[in-house]
């Protein structure tokens, strides 16, 4: 399936881009993160991140659909 990935903060720095389209067989964010963490050499374990699909927070076991926008959120630092 095709997914749209957005990256923020240090994940964007490490990926070298703010977004990318990726063809993947990963059925859930859990598998997708494992796949892209390897590709981009992300050091965060999934336990330190939250994940959003199409602008809403979801569980790591959420079933992904064709065209989903997936964002792995590093620990936040607003304020």
């Amino acid at each position: 399936m095709n997914y749209r990935l957005l990256y923020f903060a240090s994940l964007a720095d490490r990926a070298g881009c703010a977004s990318e389209d990726r063809d993947s067989d990963a059925p859930t964010p859990r598998e997708l993160y494992a796949e892209i963490a390897k590709i981009h050499d992300f050091a965060f374990t999934a336990t330190r991140l939250r994940v959003a699909v199409n602008g809403a927070l979801v569980d790591w076991g959420h079933r992904l659909a064709e065209g989903d926008e997936v964002v792995f959120l590093p620990p936040v630092s607003g304020g």
């Binding site: 959120l73 620990p75 936040v76 630092s77 607003g78 304020g79």
Partner: protein, 144 residues
């Protein structure tokens, strides 16, 4: 109703606090988060804030709705800046109005704490030594 918003322009507290007006309110508490010139012992020159806007707005609205339900408030607002900010700039503003001061103080504190904990906004500190770094505070090193 939009009680929370992101802004790429200067926050005018004098104008924004009008949204808190209520004839039954006897207390108004505001919090201003400012850009300071140091963090963790390092000199900071400026800050960049980045947000995942659709989720930041959704989470921010949820926090303010929860505050309205949790505390005896008349109104509540929060605005968070994005983009590049200078030392002394107002980065985040929280304002609440309530019939009495106890609820106003407690709610204001609760809102800013929840915003810092939950809303997908990240701070990039630009240091005097030329380095910069994203802050990912959860007791682990910021750099990856």
């Amino acid at each position: 109703m939009n009680r929370f918003r992101l802004s790429d322009a200067t926050i005018d507290v004098g104008t924004e606090r009008n949204a808190l007006d209520h004839a039954a309110a006897g207390a108004c508490v505001g919090f201003e988060g400012w850009v300071r010139n140091h963090n963790d012992g390092r000199a900071v020159l400026q800050l960049g804030y980045q947000a995942y806007a659709p989720l930041a707005e959704r989470e921010g609205e949820a926090i303010l709705a929860e505050a309205m339900a949790r505390f005896r408030l008349r109104e509540a607002r929060c605005i968070h800046r994005v983009g590049l900010l200078a030392i002394g700039d107002l980065a985040v503003w929280v304002g609440v109005s309530a019939d009495h001061r106890d609820a106003a103080f407690e709610a204001c504190r609760w809102i800013i704490d929840e915003v810092k904990r939950r809303v997908p906004i990240w701070k990039n500190e630009h240091y005097a030594d030329g380095e910069s770094g994203w802050l990912h505070p959860d007791n682990t090193p910021a750099g990856i």
